[in-house]
Symmetry: C2
């Protein structure tokens, strides 16, 4: 985000909303024409900026098909609330105009009873289509896919196929139409080509001869993350979803994949920050919801941190003898946490992008050991300079044994940073090995693990170096 | 990432690589046919799995056009190394087969001298095209765009346009062909429609009549993040790039946008972990590179943490009088850091998704104040229970004034967690306001800010509650 983007923060929607608000109150009939040039996504933003009670009025002022496209871009919670308020027939009419995957998503998020009522009111074809989509878990390929795609017999010629597609397109199919899927007599997927490639192919050739046979497919039960990885690795604009017989049952389009990538990323960042992932955007989440997602981990971390009180208690005598030791406790343990947080963020991201796999742990541990040792050496030297420097400059009196204190701090830092780096880099591997999400290795989690051990390292070094002098 | 994905970690490439290795040694001429069914992305993965010296051999064994598509998927550093090793003529032949944007990217990453030599060897048209693309900064719309797109006069009829496109497709244009751009006599973009919509449109209609006029465009200088946001908000598969006269100069395709989204997310996670973003994938980054990106922030944070030593020194007398106070220092300051890390991760992610804008700070501060107070209360009660519980159970002796110590811990936790939450949530706003990247508000950064203040809060509460007893 660059600073000048701040200037652009006033969106199209924010600029247009006041005019539309005016029109809604004075001349709602003019709205379709006045908003004709607006992208449905912008009109959806406008709708979200309106006072809650005016939202249905704006939808009502638009032609039904237009209202349906706008609804596709409205935030989930607003959309389900709006649809639940309408009578079922009206809602069904709007949903009929939406793409099958968005329609299913909208129903999924609604109160079940309301959704069932609306489902009853859908035309037969749309109802069957929607019920089929609703069978799949939302986080799977089946839950993401649309059933509007172009499948053509691989025995058709290029020209026949173009005619078929033209007819389909004129019948109003809207999605996943840039890619043409060739199927055999059983309906099994045998090839794929883009509409552009179809146009380029010799008119009389059969699809079976011109389509690419190297088709990337997923089963309907595939995790959405897998769909996202395939899209990104193979530069796809649509991923075909097949059943056990390789029959095409749907297509996941790239716009939904981008949403998945962003949602997964949001979850990962929130987990890394040390909380459970939110289900709604931050400002739309209720305070209670926010607290629920945060209190759990915060409490677990707190209980983990209680061991620091135990560890400190164990060394209480040493602290009482040499209070100077207590002064560096926060500095030393936080350095372990910081270096651990760095290592963890590197590894969980590399895992998410599949750059690092479970079997790479031994390569990682070698690198991170060296990295930790080097970073620890840098901080160790700084620590020694800090203690001796302050003493020599007369800024603080660390007592007659200040050189030994300085060495204690320096050596502890090498140990703590190395340990922090290793813990931070290995924790995601351990979590994943145990079947957990490596992204649960949050910065606070690593810091907590490292704090207790950091104290033990520090006081052990102190006991060794200061015995007979301060201790 | 689900546990069963671990099972799938053995990729297509890993399964095929040994066979191809065999073939390379025994019968390289068979490779084109044997690998025909492989997606170029998989073949690129195979190439990356081969011993370094065999990589050129695999490329050489493939037909030139196939080798060019494979190179489009090869990791940046491997690709530039391979091209630099070839003689310029050979490299130019391969680059000619690549899409214009990938070709420019490949040259951008190479040693400048080698790139210039190769550029000289390109055919005139490709050279001019590439030189034009190389003018743009890599992180801008211009740096991402391809120059292979379909622009048709808006005065052509649908049928004429289809013929034009067919000719273009047959001439071998490969990219950004799913969308048709309508331009006026000056070359200015006047409309857009998908190839599917073109097929659906009445044959005799002029493009100007059937194209959508609500076109989303970006200037070539637009930041890549802006391009990504537009693609995601408007569900685009291609973003047209225009000059000052609204003339179409290129198109950014969605596969590049997905790469941008993932790179930006990687940067954000790494920054949030408290290091500078890496330029290469983790395992491809040299150790020295890794250290450079980490040592800077780690040192800055360390210097920041030094203030804790100062703060602790300021309260040295109090600690000497009541060593028990020192025992809870790590517990209390880490709770502030953890709650701050939670708040920061929520806000920087909401900002990245544009859910929260600069002007929302007052809404956020209100929510976070309440959240911090509530979370602080939970931990505060736990803290009090911990101290009194351990004392009553005889697990530790906190002295005769243990109830006051418990209250000190509890009240400090409320203060520190509230302060941590507020700092964590406001820091991204402050950074952004000052023109910095809000993602620089890393977990360790917040923890460091909160540690010093946490100590001051804790000891101030102690001074108030324990004066006359322990202090």
């Amino acid at each position: 985000m660059t600073p000048d983007q701040r200037e652009k923060e006033r969106s199209v929607a924010a600029l247009v909303a006041p005019d539309i608000l005016d029109l809604l109150e004075t001349e709602p009939a003019a709205i379709p024409l006045e908003t004709e040039e607006l992208h449905p996504a912008d009109l959806a933003d406008v709708l979200e900026l309106l006072p809650r009670e005016l939202m249905p009025k704006l939808l009502g002022a638009l032609p039904r098909e237009r209202a349906a496209s706008v609804l596709e871009y409205v935030a989930d919670d607003v959309r389900s609330a709006l649809l639940e308020e309408m009578d079922a027939e009206q809602a069904a009419a709007l949903l009929t105009g939406m793409t099958p995957d968005e329609r299913a998503d909208a129903l999924e998020e609604m109160d079940e009873e309301a959704a069932d009522e609306i489902l009853e009111e859908l035309p037969d074809r749309e109802r069957a289509e929607t019920e089929r989509l609703l069978q799949y878990e939302p986080d799977t390929a089946g839950g993401l896919m649309t059933t509007q795609f172009v499948a053509v017999s691989d025995q058709e010629t290029v020209d026949q196929a173009l005619l078929t597609i033209r007819a389909m397109a004129r019948a109003g199919r809207r999605e996943a139409m840039g890619t043409v899927y060739a199927v055999d007599a059983r309906g099994a997927l045998t090839g794929v080509l883009s509409l552009r490639e179809l146009l380029a192919a010799p008119e009389g050739a059969k699809l079976a001869e011109v389509a690419w046979t190297e088709v990337v497919t997923v089963p309907a039960t595939a995790d959405r993350e897998e769909v996202a990885n395939l899209t990104s690795n193979y530069d796809l604009v649509a991923v075909p979803v097949v059943d056990e017989q390789q029959r095409l049952v749907g297509v996941v389009t790239v716009d939904d994949v981008i949403d998945v990538i962003q949602e997964e990323q949001t979850e990962d960042v929130q987990k890394f920050g040390g909380l459970e992932a939110l289900e709604e955007p931050y400002l739309q989440s209720g305070l209670l919801e926010l607290l629920k997602k945060r209190a759990g981990w915060l409490t677990i971390l707190f209980v983990g941190e209680m061991f620091t009180a135990g560890a400190m208690g164990y060394f209480e005598d040493e602290i009482a003898h040499a209070v100077v030791l207590a002064l560096f406790v926060p500095l030393i343990i936080s350095s372990g946490g910081n270096s651990g947080s760095q290592a963890t963020s590197l590894i969980i991201r590399a895992m998410a992008l599949q750059e690092v796999r479970l079997g790479d742990w031994w390569r990682v541990i070698g690198r991170e050991f060296l990295a930790g040792l080097s970073l620890g050496a840098i901080l160790g030297v700084l620590g020694v300079v800090r203690v001796i420097g302050w003493q020599e400059l007369g800024l603080y009196d660390y007592g007659p044994h200040f050189v030994r204190v300085a060495l204690t701090v320096g050596i502890s830092l090498v140990g703590v940073v190395t340990f922090g780096t290793l813990t931070g880099s290995m924790l995601p591997f351990a979590l994943r090995r145990a079947g957990f999400d490596p992204a649960s290795a949050s910065a606070p989690f690593v810091a907590t693990l490292v704090d207790v051990t950091g104290l033990v390292i520090y006081f052990s070094v102190a006991l060794t170096l200061l015995r007979g002098t301060l201790l």
